[in-house]
Every structure is written in structure tokens, then in C-alpha cells.
């Protein structure tokens, strides 16, 4: 036979090894997802909470990030040097979700956007801010995607805070989401997933503005009373 068989005899073993690594990563990702669900459940309470309880809920969620950190460390150990993007798809959604949860918790606590430093210390991984990291990290795209999810969640909160009688929160949310939107407009997005989701922010803004409009019309917020 005019074919050198040695490569083909080895390739099956190599592929099995690769499949095993992926399976192991997916197992970790499933555990990670469980933790994310727990944190989501905590944060969900915010939609029916009184105004003064909201920061506490944020803090309660933050307390669970020790687990998230552990999952990130476990994942990092499975990724060979410089092969982050070979497996990135396996955990990207989960990491994105955990970044969003962190950003949401911080927002509820302080009504500020999570900073890169805060996120890095909560998740125990670096963000690839300068395209220079060679090992496991949080990608810039994951960071940005989570901001878009945040605007979506905040539009929900704007509506629900009216239901519990907090008429001031939607106005603050509106300001904040506008700022985020302005931030995104500074980026030169290409035609990819980030771009498509960015285009969706305006619908969230519209929803929030409608709530603000209803509140202003009825002079329900403290600010409106002042004027």
C-alpha cells in the first residue's frame, strides 16, 4: 500500500483523547451552570422586592461568587497553554452568564457598572482587555455580551419596580441604560453576534422609556413632585 499507516493508526487515539478532554470540560460547565442557576434564583427576588431590600439581594448574590471563582479555576486547569480558543465555545455561554450575574449584582448594590477590576476579582480570572493573554481568561466579547443581557434584565426590573411601588427606580435605570448604550456606540462593531445583540438594546431602551413616560405623566416619581 502506498500509504504510510503510522499517522492513521495514531489519529484515532488522538481524537479520543480530544473527545475526553471536551467531555471533562462539559462536565465542569454543567456544575458551573448549576451555580449560575442558584445565583439567578437569588437575583430573581429583586423583581418583587421593596426598594430598600434591593441592595441586600445584590450582596446576597455576591456572596455566592466564591463558587463561581472555583469553577473558573477548575476550567482554567483543563485548558492547555495557548489553546484557549480551541475549547472556548464549550464554556463561553456559561462564563458570559456568570459575568452578567456579577454585573447585575453589582448594579443592584451600587447602581454602577461593574468595573474590570471588580469582575476580575469576583471571577478570579483576567479579562483580555489588550488581546495579550495567552491562557484562560474572560474574553472581551463575553464581557460585552453580558452588558447587553444586563440592559435586558434592567428593562424587566423597570417594569417590575413600578408594580411594587418604586417609581424612582425606572428613571435611574433609564439614565444608566442610556449611558451603556452610548458606550456601545463608541465601538466599531462588525457584522457579528455582538452587533446583532447590540441592535436589540434599543428595544430595551424603548420599553424603559415607556415606563418612565407613564410615571412622568402621572407625576408619580419624587423628581416629578419636585418640579
Amino acid at each position: 500500500m502506498s500509504i504510510d499507516l503510522s499517522f492513521f493508526n495514531n489519529i484515532d487515539a488522538a481524537m479520543e483523547e480530544e473527545a475526553a478532554r471536551k467531555e471533562e470540560i462539559l462536565r465542569l460547565v454543567r456544575d458551573f451552570d448549576k451555580t449560575c442557576r442558584t445565583i439567578t434564583a437569588i437575583l430573581n427576588r429583586v423583581h418583587s422586592a421593596q426598594a430598600e431590600e434591593v441592595p441586600t439581594i445584590g450582596s446576597l448574590a455576591m456572596d455566592r461568587f466564591g463558587e463561581v471563582k472555583q469553577h473558573m479555576t477548575n476550567l482554567a486547569q483543563l485548558v492547555p497553554h495557548q489553546q484557549y480558543y480551541r475549547y472556548n465555545e464549550l464554556w463561553s455561554r456559561t462564563v458570559q452568564n456568570s459575568v452578567f450575574l456579577a454585573a447585575f449584582a453589582i448594579y443592584l448594590q451600587s447602581e454602577k457598572l461593574i468595573t474590570a477590576n471588580e469582575l476580575e476579582s469576583l471571577l478570579g480570572a483576567k479579562i483580555n482587555l489588550n488581546n495579550d493573554l495567552q491562557d484562560f481568561h474572560i474574553s472581551l466579547e463575553e464581557f460585552l455580551h453580558s452588558f447587553i443581557t444586563l440592559t435586558n434584565e434592567l428593562s424587566r426590573l423597570a417594569i417590575n419596580s413600578v408594580t411594587v411601588g418604586d417609581y424612582n427606580r425606572p428613571i435611574r435605570i433609564s439614565n444608566f441604560v442610556q449611558q451603556l448604550y452610548t458606550g456601545f456606540q463608541l465601538l466599531n462593531l462588525k457584522n457579528d453576534a455582538l452587533r446583532r445583540r447590540f441592535d436589540g438594546i434599543k428595544y430595551n431602551i424603548k420599553k424603559i422609556e415607556e415606563v418612565v413616560y407613564d410615571i412622568s405623566l402621572r407625576k408619580l416619581s419624587d423628581d416629578a413632585e419636585k418640579n
Binding site: 500500500m1 504510510d4 495557548q82 482587555l129 488581546n131 491562557d135 466599531n188
Partner: protein
Amino acid sequence: MATISDPSSDDIAGEVSIRSLFESFRDSLDQHYDRRERIVKASRDITALSKKLIGLAHRVTQKPLKSILQEANEKKDEISQLFKEISLELQGINYYRYHKNISPSIQEFIEAISFLEYLQNDRLITKEEVENEFKDETGTQFLLITDEDYVLGLADLTGELMRYAINSVGKGDHDRAIKVCQFLRDMKTVHPKSPLGRKVDTIRQSLSKVEDACYAITIRGSEYPKEFYQHIVSEHARSYEYVEEEE
């Protein structure tokens, strides 16, 4: 916008910090998008050149192999140079980050050089020999070749071998066609099944087309005058080429 009251100083501080955060993102994102664009462009150029190289190799049924190989070497050098230039963008972690952008061109190139190797030496190029094409003067490999790239490149090779076999029949070189047929059978045997299943199908199709052609020349060869069935087979070959273009 909800500018019901004057924004507090806290608000302004928040706005400034969000702005500066996004400004810091912008440069990194631009860098990433620009790099990806350069890689995609190089990949397209290399794919086009590799297709020309394959076209050149197919002319072996009309021209002496020696002159074809000479011309092929020049084209190969040109492609190597492009790979070498773009490899600078694929260092370290960036290799897998942009692998899906460069990979089509690597596979196309493997298809071309493996075809040339078959024409020249009647054998399947090894992964090591493929890797040698990606080495500079000092012997350092400037671009990594994954097993998948190699295996998928070879799957595409079977399509070229099929065309080559049919063309050979058209030229009356039946022995050649039967030899290619046997080689394709060997390839089908060794080619890994998972997770590249869809490509294994290509091999199976190529092989069965060649087997049909070999069958036709064997059984009809005894019945028709030579020129007559050469015509039939070349008509046959042309219909396969249409199918290929449609794909």
C-alpha cells in the same frame, strides 16, 4: 430620555467611567477585527492560488509531468510566502482564535500538494511532509497543521483523484484509472471515520464514481471500438465536472 432632574455629580462620574471603559474596549476590538480581516483575505488569496495549482496538476493528462512540476514549484513558493507572512498574525493564542478563518486555505493547499505528490510518486503525502512545506530556511515550522486540516485536505484530494481517473480514461489510459481506483480504496480504508463523517462521504462518492468508470471500460471495452467508448467516458466525465461545480 429621563432628564427630569439635573443629574447628580455621582451620575456624571458614572457616565465618565462607563465612557472610558468603552473607549478602552474600542482599541482592542478594532485590533481584533482588523487582524481577522487580514487573515480572511490571506486565506482567500491562498485558496485561489491553490485552486490554480490543482488546475495545473490536472493538465498532466495533456502535458509532460516534468514541466508541470516545475511550474508547480514556483506556485508553491508563492503560496508558502503568503503563509509565512500571515503566520505572524497567528502566533500563540491567536492560532486557535483565528484557526477557522485560515483553515480553509490550509486544507486547499494540502489538497494541491498531496495531488502533486501522488502524480509524482504514486503515494499519499504524510503529515510530516505536509508540515515540511510550512518550514522556513532554518527548519522552524512557522504554522501549525492540525490533524483535522490534514485529514480534511486528504478527503478533498479524493475528489481530484476521481477527476484525474476519469480524465485518464478519457485519454485511453485505463491502467492509470484502475491504479487510481485502488489507491482510493486504500484511502477509504485508512481514513478516520469520526468526527469527520461528512467528508468520509466525499471519499465514498469519489470512489464509487471511479469504480463505475473502471467497470464501464472493462465490460464495454471488449464490445466497442476504442475511440467510441473514449467518447462515452469523456462525456461521462464532463457530467461529473458539472456536478462538482454546482457543489
